[in-house]
Amino acid sequence: MIRSAALTLVCAALYGFALGSAHSELYAVRNLLKFPLLLATTGSVCALSWWIVARLVGAPLSFVDAQRAAGMLFKDASALLASLAPVVFFTARCLRATDDGQLGGYDAFLAGNLAAVALCGTLALLHQARELFLTARISPARARALVASWLVLTLAVGGQAAFFMRPFFGFPATRGARPPLFLGAEPDVRGATNFFEAVAQTLERPALPQKWPETPRRER
């Protein structure tokens, strides 16, 4: 279990480093710490609820078993993301070399990485549901319900943790600035102060403030 956790953190650090390279070495190096911290925080906060949901679904998992099964989700997703790290790193360096110093390819890079995280998360989810079905002798429907419930909890907590720990990579216009390690609850470009507001604004697509990007200190 410790080896798996270590592998997960190393893989997350690799992917984080590649992601941060789109902005600067500062962000890349910070992500070596921040990405593993993101996973560790999410796992710690969700641990109890993962187990309680497993008990409700009828999965015969002890507290440690539930952590191990949920941890495997992280491990698989991290390994898949780490395998994409060279691609992300290459793309990041290309974008950085050719951007306009303002927005550059930020939106496309963000969308591409969101797609990669969604793909890796989904694959890990399907794999883990099958593992639970085979090893814990849980019916397929229950295994899927359990893993989907874990995913919802993890996304809600992980999303907020990611928002609090931002920036992981930023607009090229902010290059050269030295933001705090975590922006915390500071409003983003559209004024969102937490992950849930940011999701709502992504759906509602409000216009950017007039002053942006002249003062683009705040970023995702």
């Binding site: 008990r55 409700l56 849980i138 907590v157 928002f163």
Partner: protein, 220 residues
């Protein structure tokens, strides 16, 4: 290779046929007072076993007491996250609402001809606050994390709004568990009538619960 050989070579994904559920013995139930983690098994993991207890009228008083205690105790951490002076409010919300509505469920069920004792009704009804309290126990670290990272400012989506969603999820889990118990209990006399009474009773319960949430300043 013949068709039968192909099918026999395929991985076997079947799960063992479930054994008939055994009821919780009185000693099993009483052991929960000394080993609180056992409460999770009694309340969450085996509604089909509780159903057998209901069918055969085994240890119902002890089960009702454990459910009552679980509803009172496991809701406290979530209340403490809401505020030091709010430690009792979640227990009051779920357990208080249930206790207010419990007499009506028993009297109406008896009046329409359902032959169940007060202990049966108490176990069934207390399933809701007990499960909701255990879920709130699991959600307490999540709410604590959200409260710590979402800031004190009341934004568009505040941690209090997320808290209401979590409390609603806990409540739904309790209601689902009640129905799992009831539907697994095949030999409860006049089950159709009890189902009808319960459906109407849920309306009364929802009304009381929403009022209680307003009184306790947990809503809006």
């Amino acid at each position: 290779m013949s068709e039968s050989e192909v099918s026999s070579a395929a991985p076997q994904l079947s799960i063992p046929r479930p054994q008939p559920a055994a009821p919780f013995a009185a000693a099993d139930v009483e052991s929960a007072w000394l080993r609180p983690l056992r409460v999770f098994e009694l309340v969450l993991s085996a509604p089909e076993r509780v159903a057998v207890n209901l069918e055969r009228s085994i240890a119902l008083g002890a089960l009702a007491l454990v459910f009552l205690a679980a509803a009172a105790v496991f809701a406290l951490p979530y209340g403490l996250v809401l505020g030091l002076d709010a430690w009792w409010r979640i227990a009051a919300l779920y357990l208080g609402s249930t206790l207010i509505c419990l007499p009506s469920l028993y009297v109406f069920a008896s009046y329409v001809g359902v032959r169940v004792g007060p202990a049966h009704i108490a176990v069934l009804a207390l399933t809701i606050p007990a499960v909701a309290a255990l879920f709130s126990f699991g959600f307490a670290p999540i709410l604590g994390f959200l409260r710590a990272t979402m800031g004190a400012a009341e934004g568009e989506i505040s941690w209090r709004a997320i808290s209401q969603v979590l409390l609603a999820v806990a409540l739904v889990a309790g209601v689902v568990q009640l129905w799992r118990c009831l539907l697994a209990s095949r030999s409860v006399s006049q089950r159709g009538l009890l189902v009808a009474v319960l459906v109407v009773w849920h309306g009364v319960f929802a009304h009381v619960l929403l009022r209680m949430a307003e009184v306790l300043a947990l809503r809006g």
